[in-house]
């Protein structure tokens, strides 16, 4: 019984159970999609679950989070961002330095570098926005932002991870696959 007799109201405990179930299902879908090399399915599942959870949260009448949670969340997010940034930069340097060993290291290093830059940029923009504009209680803005972010991610994933426009190593030489807009890798093709 996940929903109360009054179907419009949900308790915090029930919401947390539903959230946990959604997380497990999402992890399963992500795992499966990696095996199947499909990227559209997890994006659709992610958007759908975010929207459903957003709706279900509005049905919870108890206090889901208060000022202490937001304060702790802010501190945790800042620390997580710093740890990720340091780890990503160190990882990027190691991978980039060893790109001659394996051509796959270079794109991974670049992804780490750009993701760190994007994270820092995003943090700076959001920090400035919070500092100057009162964002609290604008639920519609949050929903719209999440939707736009996931659509952008979907387009980005389809464009860059589809594997359609890339260089493939075949019989000791780099062969064009599709229309890559960058030159063939300089690393040796084995």
């Amino acid at each position: 019984m996940l929903i109360n007799s009054n179907y419009k109201v949900m308790t915090l405990k029930q919401f947390r159970i539903v959230k946990l179930v959604f997380t497990v299902f999402l992890a399963m879908i992500f795992g499966r999609s990696i095996v199947l090399n499909s990227y559209l399915m997890p994006i659709i599942a992610l958007v759908a679950s975010a929207l459903i959870l957003f709706y279900l949260r509005s049905r919870v009448k108890e206090v889901v989070a208060d000022e202490r949670d937001y304060l702790t969340g802010g501190r945790a997010a800042l620390l997580a961002m710093q740890i990720y940034s340091w780890a990503a930069v160190i990882g990027m340097l190691i991978l980039y330095a060893n790109r001659a060993l394996n051509p796959a290291y270079e794109p991974v290093a670049m992804t780490l570098a750009y993701s760190t830059c994007l994270l820092m940029l995003l943090y700076a923009v959001i920090f400035r926005y919070y500092n100057q504009v009162k964002l609290a209680d604008k639920k519609f803005f949050y929903a719209a932002f999440v939707l736009v972010l996931f659509i952008a991610l979907a387009v980005f994933s389809l464009r860059f991870f589809s594997g359609e426009d890339n260089w493939i190593c075949q019989n000791g030489r780099w062969v064009k696959h599709g229309q890559p807009d960058f030159p063939a890798p300089t690393a040796e093709c084995k």
């Binding site: 206090v63 989070a65 208060d66 000022e67 202490r68 949670d69």
Partner: protein, 62 residues
Amino acid sequence: MENRIKELRTKLNITQEELANRAGVRRETIVFLEQGKYNPSLKLAHEVALALKTTIDKLFIF
């Protein structure tokens, strides 16, 4: 920050859960407040003082 939340709550015979509902926070926040491990915002201090039928200056020991 030291405070008299627990003392006044006991006097009014209300639970932490009830006080949390009245102040619009989670029960854990009341626990932290009573233990003096969390300094509330002015708004929350006001809400808690209202719920305990007192004022901020009588509730918190500055």
